[in-house]
């Protein structure tokens, strides 16, 4: 059963710094989050292995990483045109473990709409976080091949795929610039 999948550990790396940007010398800072999984069941499990969404609750200092598709809301009139690929997955064999590593920025950048103006860039320093919460979808069924459907329809299908397990861990980010 897919809900037999267990998150056994969530670990935050030391900070990583990129090489100086050729345009302005800026060096991006990010972290690797490694999620360790175990499949105690008797059947292989297909597990989403890429970050499909992230959000930060500044009041609670909780960073939520979604390796799962949340059911999309209704399509708004200003919905963009984009292509959403089918998620990458890994297979965790019965009685085996696996690790998935995703990259998160130290400074979360969000583009927010401002009527009649270019998007505003909102930056949030994630190094204030105390907790990382992970949501990971898994199933005994493969996630399926590409379908020629729009992103909303794909997300609706993916949200029904498998089961999503959740776990969280306290973290102490490296706060150096």
């Amino acid at each position: 059963m897919a809900n037999a999948l267990a998150i056994t550990d969530i670990a935050l790396s030391a900070r990583r710094r990129g090489l100086p940007h050729p345009m302005d010398g800026r060096r991006d800072i990010w972290f690797d989050v490694t999620v360790r999984l175990e499949n105690p069941g008797t059947k292989p499990l297909h597990v989403v292995s890429e970050l499909r969404g992230l959000s930060y609750d500044a009041a609670q200092r909780v960073l939520t990483l979604r390796l799962a598709e949340a059911p999309p809301g209704p399509i708004s009139a200003d919905a963009p045109t984009f292509t959403l690929p089918t998620p990458a997955t890994v297979t965790v064999e019965p009685h085996a473990s696996a690790a998935i590593t995703v990259k998160i920025p130290a400074i979360l950048k969000e583009l927010r709409p401002v009527p009649g103006q270019p998007f505003a860039l909102v930056e949030t320093d994630l190094r204030a976080m105390h907790t990382i919460r992970c949501e990971i979808a898994a199933s005994e069924r493969p996630i399926g091949q590409f379908e020629r459907i729009d992103a909303h329809a794909l997300r609706t299908r993916l949200a029904r795929w498998g089961r999503t397990i959740r776990s969280e861990a306290a973290v102490k980010p490296d706060t150096r610039d």
Binding site: R17, G53, L84, P118
Partner: protein, 209 residues
């Protein structure tokens, strides 16, 4: 009535990519309009799919703003949520109440699509921008194919890919993902600055310190 680059995002990256699309045509210009945007000016002195499209956008009836953003930036998904831009490569928003069309793309992530044989092929960053600008162009000119916008944009994108010698995408397959594909890049063009490859072949270079 033209093409703008958002200064709230990475203007330099966007300018390099537009310059790449026009194949380093020195007729490309950029002027500061206000604290939010620079305006692109362009009357082509050489021909090609890239030059033709940028000139048409500059002369179009719509206002298009391009935001070049790094890996990990989240953007509105049109369904009440946010989505990492690197997951989708780029996105184009329909005209808002003021007629502003917004294009967002990721300038530092390796992406791939598929050719007609099903092989993974690279989508260099200027190619991703050209794709999004195709959506914007058709929205600005009333020719947007709402029934199959990706077929329309990939067909357009293939004219640019052909110009720069990249293998063509399958217009009926708009799937793809994060990764280097076949590793092929848009060739640099004379006079382009800064010198160097015009797209990443993998994740951003990293060191730990």
């Amino acid at each position: 009535m033209t093409l703008f680059l958002s200064k709230l995002a990475n203007t330099g990256a966007a300018l390099v990519d537009v310059f790449t699309i026009v194949r380093c045509d020195s007729a490309l210009g950029s002027d500061t309009i206000n604290a939010q945007v620079d305006r692109i000016s362009y009357a082509k002195t050489s021909s090609g799919a890239g030059q033709d499209r940028i000139e048409a956008l500059v002369q179009s009836a719509g206002n298009v703003v391009v935001s070049a953003v790094p890996n990990g930036t989240t953007i509105p998904d049109g369904s009440g949520g946010m989505i990492p831009v690197n997951l989708v490569g780029g996105a184009t928003y329909p005209p808002d109440a003021a007629g502003l069309i917004q294009v967002v793309y990721c300038f530092d992530n390796a992406m791939f699509g598929f050719d007609a044989a099903g092989g993974q092929i690279s989508l260099p960053r200027s190619d991703i921008l050209f794709h999004e600008l195709s959506h914007a162009f058709h929205r600005a000119n009333g020719t947007f194919n709402a029934a199959d916008p990706e077929f329309q944009a990939i067909s357009d994108e293939n004219t640019y890919r052909a110009q720069v010698g990249l293998p063509l995408r399958d217009p009926t397959n708009h799937n793809g993902g994060q990764g280097p594909g076949d590793g092929r890049q848009v060739p640099t063009c004379t006079g382009m600055g800064p010198a160097g490859p015009t797209g990443p072949t993998g994740p951003s270079p990293c060191c730990s310190c």
